[in-house]
C-alpha cells in the first residue's frame, strides 16, 4: 500500500480528516525550508505538499508567487525539491509527500528520469497544476510505473459530464479546488463545500482534500467535516513571509511561528469530527 493510501486508511480508522500543510521548497532559503519540512509531522501534518518553484505560476496568487520568487532567488529548483524529500525520508518513512507545481520544470528535467528520481527520493504523489487530463498521457505512464500517484485537481467549474474524465487515472486522493480563482484570495462558504463534496463522492471512492482558501483553524475544521483533508498554503506562507527580516532572510523565530500555526490547524482538524 502506498504511503498516501496507508495514511488515509489510518485516519479513517481514527475517524478524522487530514491536515496537509504546504511549503514552497527553498523559501526563503534551503536550510529554513528543510527545517520546516522536518518539523511539520511533529506539528501535526498528516500529509505534506511541497511546492516546486516556477517563474510563472499561473494558478497562484501573490502570496505563493512571492514565495516562488524568494525560492528561485535562493536557488530553488525541481532537483532541489527532490533532494529535500530525500533528506526528509532519512528520518520519516511514513508521512506522505506530494510535489505540487507546473509542468515545464518536469519536462525540462525529463519525464522518465524525473519519475525515477522522484520515486527514489521518496515522493508519493504529483500535482501538476497546468496538466489537465487531456494532456496527462505523457506523464501518466512513467508516474504509474514508478508508483507515483497522479493527483488531479477538480474545480467548481468541472461539470458532471467532465468529472469521469478528470477522475479516470487519478490516484492517491482528489484535490478539490474550493473556489473559482487563484490561491490565497477568497474562501468558499461552508454551504458551497457541503454541496460540492457529495457531488464528487458520487463519482469516486478516493479521499478528497479541499484546498484554495482554507486559511484558519475553523476553516480547516469545516473542510474535514465534509471532506477527508484540508490543504493550507497561503496562510502559512504569509506567516513565514511576515517573519522575515527586511532583506527577506529568516529570523530565529521564523520556524517556530509557522510550526505553531500548523499546530493550531492540526488541533482544529483533530477536534473537528468530535463535535460533528
Amino acid at each position: 500500500m502506498s504511503r498516501i493510501a496507508a495514511r488515509f486508511a489510518q485516519l479513517k480508522a481514527e475517524g478524522r480528516g487530514a491536515l496537509m500543510p504546504f511549503l514552497e521548497a527553498y523559501d526563503p532559503d534551503p536550510a529554513t525550508s528543510m527545517a520546516l519540512l522536518r518539523g511539520l509531522p511533529g506539528a501535526g501534518a498528516d500529509l505534506i505538499e511541497i511546492g516546486v518553484p516556477f517563474t510563472d505560476p499561473m494558478a497562484d496568487g501573490p502570496t505563493v508567487q512571492r514565495a516562488g520568487q524568494r525560492a528561485l532567488k535562493a536557488g530553488g529548483s525541481l532537483a532541489g525539491a527532490l533532494a529535500m524529500v530525500r533528506d526528509f525520508r532519512r528520518e520519516d518513512d511514513e508521512t506522505p509527500v506530494v510535489l505540487m507545481g507546473y509542468l515545464n520544470p518536469i519536462l525540462s528535467y525529463g519525464i522518465e528520469s524525473f519519475c525515477t528520481c522522484a520515486a527514489d527520493s521518496g515522493v508519493d504523489g504529483l500535482i501538476v497544476v497546468d496538466m489537465p487530463p487531456e494532456e496527462a498521457d505523457e506523464l501518466a505512464g512513467p508516474a504509474r510505473e514508478q508508483g507515483l500517484d497522479l493527483i488531479r485537481l477538480v474545480a467548481p467549474t468541472t461539470h458532471d459530464a467532465r468529472l469521469p474524465k478528470v477522475l479516470e487515472g487519478t490516484s492517491g486522493f482528489i484535490y478539490y479546488v474550493a473556489i473559482t480563482g487563484i490561491t490565497g484570495t477568497r474562501s468558499a462558504t461552508q454551504e458551497a463545500l457541503a454541496a460540492a463534496i457529495p457531488r464528487l463522492r458520487r463519482h469516486t471512492d478516493l479521499p478528497i482534500a479541499i484546498g484554495f482558501g482554507v486559511r484558519t483553524p475553523q476553516q480547516a475544521a469545516e473542510a474535514v467535516q465534509v471532506a477527508d483533508g484540508a490543504v493550507v498554503a497561503s496562510a502559512l506562507i504569509e506567516t513565514l513571509a511576515a517573519s522575515l527580516d527586511e532583506k527577506g532572510r529568516a529570523r530565529p523565530d521564523t520556524l517556530r511561528k509557522v510550526l505553531d500555526q500548523v499546530r493550531g490547524l492540526a488541533e482544529a482538524v483533530r477536534g473537528a469530527r468530535v463535535s460533528a
Binding site: 528561485l72 529548483s77 532537483a79 467549474t157 461539470h159
Partner: protein
Amino acid sequence: MNQPLPNSLRQGPDTRGRFGQFGGRYVAETLMPVIQEVEQAYNAARQDPAFMQEWRRLLKDYVGRPSPLWLCERLTEHLRAGSAGPDLGAKVYFKREELNHTGAHKINAVLGQILLARRMGKPRIIAETGAGQHGVATATACALFGLKCIVYMGATDVERQQPNVFRMKLLGAEVIPVTSGAGTLKDAMNEAMRDWVANVADTYYCIGTVAGPAPFPQMVRDFQCVIGEETRQQVLAAEGRLPDALVCAVGGGSSAMGLFHPFLDDAEVRIIGVEAAGRGMESGEHAAAIGGGRPGVLHGNKTYLLQNGDGQIQEAHSISAGLDYPGIGPEHSWLHEIGRVEYVAITDQEALDAFQLCSRLEGIIPALESAHGLAHVLKLAPTMAKDEIIVLNLSGRGDKDIFTVAKHLGESL
C-alpha cells in the same frame, strides 16, 4: 477562407489542438471547461455565414480593409543601388496592415473574438498587451460593442508605451499594470490568465496572438489569415504571380501567421519569420524563442521557449515591446521543425536603423516590431534577383514607438 488540400500544411491543429508535438491545452482544471466552451462556440461561429458576414462587414467598413499592397519604389531602388550587381535587388512590397483602424493587424482577430464573446454571452473582456496594440484594439472593439474591458500590461511596458496606455483609457478600458516578473508581456499574460480563472463565468479572454491554449492559436490565425488571403489576390493582380519571399516579424507570431498561412502550400514561396535578437543572440538578451530556446510548456501551450536548464522561463529582451516575449505560437514551432518556415533574428540596432530608413525612403513610420521584419528585407532583397518579389508584412505603425526611438537616438521630446 480557401479550403486546405489533402496533405496540406494548413490542416492543423489536430483534435487535441496540436501542430505536430506543439500546442495543446495546458491549463488549470478550472479553465478547461470554459476553454472547451470557447472551442465549441468558435467551431459553430466559423460555420455560421451570418457570423462571418458580420465580421467581414466590420473589417471593411470599420477597419478599412482590404489594406493596400504597396510597391516600395524608393526602397527597392535604394537596395538595388547597394547590391552587388546590376541584376540584383528584389522588388519590395509592403502589406500595409499599419493602415488598419487602431494602427496594426491586431484588430482583425480582436473583432472576430469580440463577436464570439457576444455570441457566448460574456459581457466582460480581458486582454494582455505588450506594445499596447492588442490592448488598444481590444479596448476599441469593446467600446464599439459596449463591453467592459480590462487590459493587463506589464509595468515596464506601461512606461515605454505611454501613448497606447492613454489611448486605452480614452476608449474606456481599465489598464492594470502588472509588476510581477520583469513587468512585460509574459507577466501580463500570467495575470490575465489568473483573472480568467477567477472570473470565468462572465469573462472572455481575448488573446492577442497565435499562442495560448487551443483553440486560440488556431482561432487567431484563422482571423489573421485575411492578411495573407488579400496579399495573394493583390500580388496576383499586380504581378500575375506569387511572391518569391514573405517576411514578417514574429513575437507571438499572429501577424506572421496571418501572412504566411495562406501560402504554406505554395512550395515556391520562401517564408521567413524574424525574431528579435535584442542586444545580440550571443548576449543572451534577446527574444528569439526558436533561435535561442527549446520546447517547453507555458501559457497553455507547448512551444519553443526561452528557459534555463531547470525549466524556469527566462526574461526576453527586445527594444520592441510587442516582440518582448519568451515564447512563440505553437504553429510556428511546428513550421520551424518541419522546415517550411525559416526563422532568423534581427537586433535592436538593426531594427532602429530600418525604422529610420523606412521613414525617410517611404514616408512610412513603421512599428518597431515591423522594423525587425524590414531589417531582414534590407539584408535579403539585395541578394535576390531583380525580377523577384518580396512581400513584407508592415504589421503596425510606429507612432507609439517614437518616444522609445527618440530616447535611443539621444533626442528628448
